[in-house]
Symmetry: C2
Amino acid sequence: MSLKFAMLGFIDMKPMTGYDLKKMFETSVNFYWSATHSQIYRTLDEMKKDEWIMEEFIYQKDLPNKKVFHATERGKEALYNWIMEPSEIPPIRHKLLVQLSWADRLPTEEIIKQLNQYGEKLEERLALYDSDEQQKMPNWSRTAKEKFLWESILKNGISTYQAELNWIRSTIKGLKNFVNKDIPIDKK
Amino acid sequence: MSLKFAMLGFIDMKPMTGYDLKKMFETSVNFYWSATHSQIYRTLDEMKKDEWIMEEFIYQKDLPNKKVFHATERGKEALYNWIMEPSEIPPIRHKLLVQLSWADRLPTEEIIKQLNQYGEKLEERLALYDSDEQQKMPNWSRTAKEKFLWESILKNGISTYQAELNWIRSTIKGLKNFVNKDIPIDKK
DNA sequence: GTAGTCATGTAAGACGTTACATGATTCT
DNA sequence: AGAATCATGTAACGTCTTACATGACTAC
C-alpha cells in the first residue's frame, strides 16, 4: 500500500520514468522500502488508471524511448491524505531470530559463527550509510525542512542497525559461556 | 520460507494443533514473525505432504475434534539444515518513513503529532515486553542455553524498539525548530 | 443474551520475487 | 569482446491478509 505513495512522492518532486524510480529504490530509499522493476511498472499502470499520474511519451534517437510520469492534482491529494494517516509499528520478519529460537540444537560455536556472519553484514551496511556514498538521499531537496526530514530518515536506519549490532555483540559474549559446557538450570 | 520452520520448531518441541500455533504467533513469537490461522492451516497441509509432520486425530466430546501434529525425522532434519543457513538483514517496509519523506508538505505541528502517536505505540509495545506478561516466551524451555537464546531474542526486540523511540524523540526535538519558522538553507 | 474460547477450514485478492524477453549504445 | 547503462514489459510463482463460514461450550 505504501509503494504507490513512495513512487508518487518521487514523481511529484520531479517527473520520472519507471527506470528512474527503479534507481531510486536501489539507492536512497532502499533501506525503508524497496521494489523491483516488475512491481514498479505494474504499479505505474494502476496509478495511471486511477489518474494519479499522467504519461508523457518521449521519443529518443540514441536511447530507447521512454515514458515520463507526472503527478496529477488527484494524485497529489491522495498523497497528502495518506501522509496524515496514522502508522502502525511495522511487522518484522526476522529469519535470524527464528533460527535462533531453535538453535539450541546446534553446537554453540556454530551459533556464534552465524551471529558473526550476520554482524559483518550489519557492519557493511552501516559503513555504507555512514559514507558520503549515501548522500544519495536525493540531493534536490528544496527546503531546509525537507533536508532535515531526509537526514532523520537516514538516522533511523543507522540507529536501528547500530542497535542490532550491539545486540549481536552482547549475545555472542553471553553465548561463550555455553561453549563446551553443560550448565544446568538453577545451579546456584 | 521461515514460516514453515518457525512452526516446525514449535511442533518439534511439543506436538501441537494449528490452533495452538496460532496462539504462539499471537503472543510470544509475534514480534519477529507472525501468521494468521489461514496461513497456518495451509502451511500445515504442505508440511504434511512433504512428510515433515504427521497428523494425529483426536476426538473430543465437549470440544471440537482436533489434529495434533508431530514432527517426523525428515522434518527435524530439514529444520536442522535450515537453521544453519546464513541469514540476510531483513528488508524493512516502514510506512512511517515513507510518510516522513514526503511530509515536507504538512505543517510541522502535524508531523510532530504523527511522530508522537507513533512514539506512544512504541512505548506501549515496550511496556508489554518489559512486563512479566511477556514471560510468555514459551516457558517450557529445557536447557539453560535455550533459555538464554529466548531471552536474547526478546532483548533484540526491546533494543530495536528502544532505539526507534530514542530516534523519535530526537527527531521531534529537531522538528520544533521548524514550527512557524522559515529557515533558509545555509544561514550561518 | 453476548462475548470469548476452542477448533477447523476455503476463497479472493493484494503484494512481492524471480525468471523470461528484447535491443541499441557506451564504456573498459 | 564483454559488461554496464538505458528502457520497457510479461508470466509464473510464492507469500500474506481479509473476508466468508460453521458450531458447540463457557463465563459474565
